[in-house]
Subunit: 417 residues, 2 copies
């Protein structure tokens, strides 16, 4: 049996055992995992040092090395996150609906763990503890497959976390990681239909695409965000500028930052130049359609290609297009957006209503920055990721996204006539 299949077989046993644990037991395991991360930090940090050394030899760029690095302060904050998970309400066991059937059967629909969750992610070793914690909280067995660059760190952390969980009574296979760095191992994991209940990829567009193309198990797509702000003809121009600058510049590398600006042709000559200047002042590279470029408002506006409308720059870069009104704006967003977060700036009531209704995205805003799409801002407690698909979960996902439901029926001999 291959490594991956063995892990999955053991994970299924662990899932059955986890289904029988109580909230108190699982919270205790989280606290003991947090404690172990600090108690065994030498082990983890020396594995991490080996990963960093290997990455350095491969001339890995500094920002990637930084994402890869663990240190006592970072481990402490990872441990704090596990502790705060223990304090969140337990979604498992909630009765979501139910009634007495006419024949006397007591029917309840209850929230239960998914079973076996798989996560495939890139080089951040903090995701290992984060994902393990979320899964233990929700009673799921988890199979982790981190980036090969962080392999030693992930193996060391998984060992520490799994031992701590086992020490407080969880099944020893509740947290496991794939130790083979081969691409084939990841692909085998994606193909284990019937053994993996859900696979969540966390990472860039390339990783998500590869999972969607190859997976035969159910997937929750996360995170890719080609988001827009549309400035309607009846917009407050100062508010539009403030929101565009915030949505583009406050943290350009995240999925809820905007990549594209749409503006009504009735106002662009007046409203757009100061916004472009403000963007230039923030160091943003501007890519524009012909009308935008004809304004000559800033030093250099590069011509936009069709491809630009569909590109998530994740950088100080924005594409800009003049549209002939609300209909074209909605059509453009629904055609090129990734259904993540979209905003309109308008003072017109009916326009606002139509935009909210007709734009197809996880979060749609009137007169506010797209940057608010976030589990914390939306009051969810923990966040597993931001789903850009429509099945199961959409937008920021809280703990319930790692659960499913089950009907339980208590009868006294009923048969169907």
């Amino acid at each position: 049996m291959s490594e991956v299949k063995m892990l999955a077989t053991r994970a299924r046993e662990a899932a059955t055992a986890l289904a029988a644990t109580s909230t108190v037991q699982r919270n205790r395991a989280l606290l003991s995992m947090a404690h172990a991360l600090l108690a065994k930090q030498d082990e983890i940090l020396s594995a991490n040092a080996a990963d960093i050394e290997a990455a350095r030899l491969k001339n890995t760029p500094a920002p990637l090395l930084d994402r890869l690095e663990l240190n006592p302060a970072r481990l402490k904050s990872i441990a704090e996150a596990l502790k705060s998970l223990a304090l969140l309400p337990d979604p498992i066991g909630e009765v979501t609906s139910g009634f007495r059937m006419p024949n006397g059967i007591w029917l309840q629909q209850i929230r239960v763990p998914m079973g076996v969750v798989a996560m495939i992610y890139e080089a951040r070793p903090n995701v290992t503890a984060d994902a393990a914690g979320l899964c233990i909280k929700t009673g799921n067995a988890v199979i982790l497959r981190g980036g090969s660059m962080a392999m030693q760190s992930n193996i060391a952390m998984t060992k520490v976390l799994a031992n701590a969980a086992a020490g407080s009574g969880m099944h020893p296979a509740c947290i496991q990681s794939v130790e083979s760095p081969d691409r084939e191992a990841a692909e085998e994991l994606m193909g284990l239909h019937g053994m993996i209940d859900v696979l969540i990829p966390r990472g860039g567009a390339g990783l998500i695409k590869s999972v969607v193309e190859n997976a035969k198990v159910p997937v929750i797509e996360t995170g890719v965000g080609n988001c827009h702000v549309y400035i309607h003809e009846k917009a407050d121009a100062a508010m539009a500028e403030r929101i565009v600058i915030n949505a583009k510049c406050q943290r350009p590398g995240v999925c809820n930052a905007i990549e594209s600006l749409l503006i009504d042709e009735r106002i662009y000559e007046r409203v757009l130049p100061p916004i472009l200047k403000a963007l230039e002042h923030e160091g943003v590279t501007i890519i524009g359609d012909e009308k935008t470029r004809s304004l000559g408002a800033v030093m250099r506006i590069q011509p936009a290609s069709e491809e630009d409308w569909g590109t998530e720059y994740l950088d100080l870069k924005i594409s800009c297009k003049v549209v002939n009104g609300l209909d074209e704006a909605i059509r453009h967003i629904n055609a090129f957006g990734t259904k993540h977060s979209e905003a309109i700036i308008t003072e017109d009531y009916e326009t606002a209503k139509r935009f909210l209704n007709e734009v197809d995205a996880a979060a749609v805003y009137v007169n506010a920055s797209t940057r608010f799409t976030d589990g914390g801002e939306f009051g969810l407690g923990a966040e597993i990721g931001i789903s850009t698909q429509k099945l199961h979960a959409r937008g920021p996902m809280g703990l319930t996204a790692l659960t499913t439901t089950k009907f339980i029926a208590m009868g006294s001999g009923q048969i169907r006539e």
Copy 2:
């Protein structure tokens, strides 16, 4: 552009238009679709006659011909089903959660249509009207791909339904069918990631498997049911017999009928023989493990192979295994079941609790027949199918399974600090 891609492109336009329709408009469309099915029945019945003639020439077995056949009475009952859909409450627009964010943004999570739904199904032409009705009710554009044997019937029905919907103001592409009978067309449909929001296969295990293997779009798996009754040592023997007979024999061809019987080794010598005799009396073929066969209770018990434990017979046939107690029963069910419907017969309180908790299935029963797993019995109104996956929907699916949610945020200039 291929036929399938063209259909999907038009369906996306229709989905945007449908998102802007009201409950009243969609209900009116359903009534007009019901009316048109009867008004244009000659068209539909002559297309159906052509399908039947072609099937007959291919020596299609009688039960399949019967499934394929439409007649005035069947059309009337299909039309009645569309009318009763119009009377159900509309799930679209429901505010499922929401609050005022601390910064003053009004946040709501609302129920919205999926967008574009695709259905791939086998030779029953009634599914065409059924699926079209469910999708119009929930504001979704639908692309239908029925079995090639019913192709003419499906094309004719789709045309009648789409025209009727368009006549009452729906987008003309809200109901479309794939007219190419090629397997490639179905496979192309499964691959249209980003254009199809959900694909629901309805049919036998082979169809479901092919969809799971090939689809790159989100899928809801339905229907395959390898269901069990487990007779615990503390079972009421008369109740056990009544439930086993009902669950196996009342309608053996459906997914919530049982395929396998497990019984505790402490009681099988006493309890099993009368049950086997009753099954034999109903014409059920019995496949058994060694202990079952050693009873010699009935004329012929064929030896069970490992494969039998995983087989959905959908027929008057049952596999029977003696287990050494609750743990083995749960392990067997979780290993061989399809996570559909599972039942235990017991008078012991803690055993009942453990079975309900630890068996991993959409519906778990104590002392009742598995045959109750059904949208109607569970009070859901319309039923789209029975999901055997854990993502999005589990067990009988009502109208909400064809919906997703969207966050809408109404601000007054808020930016993220």
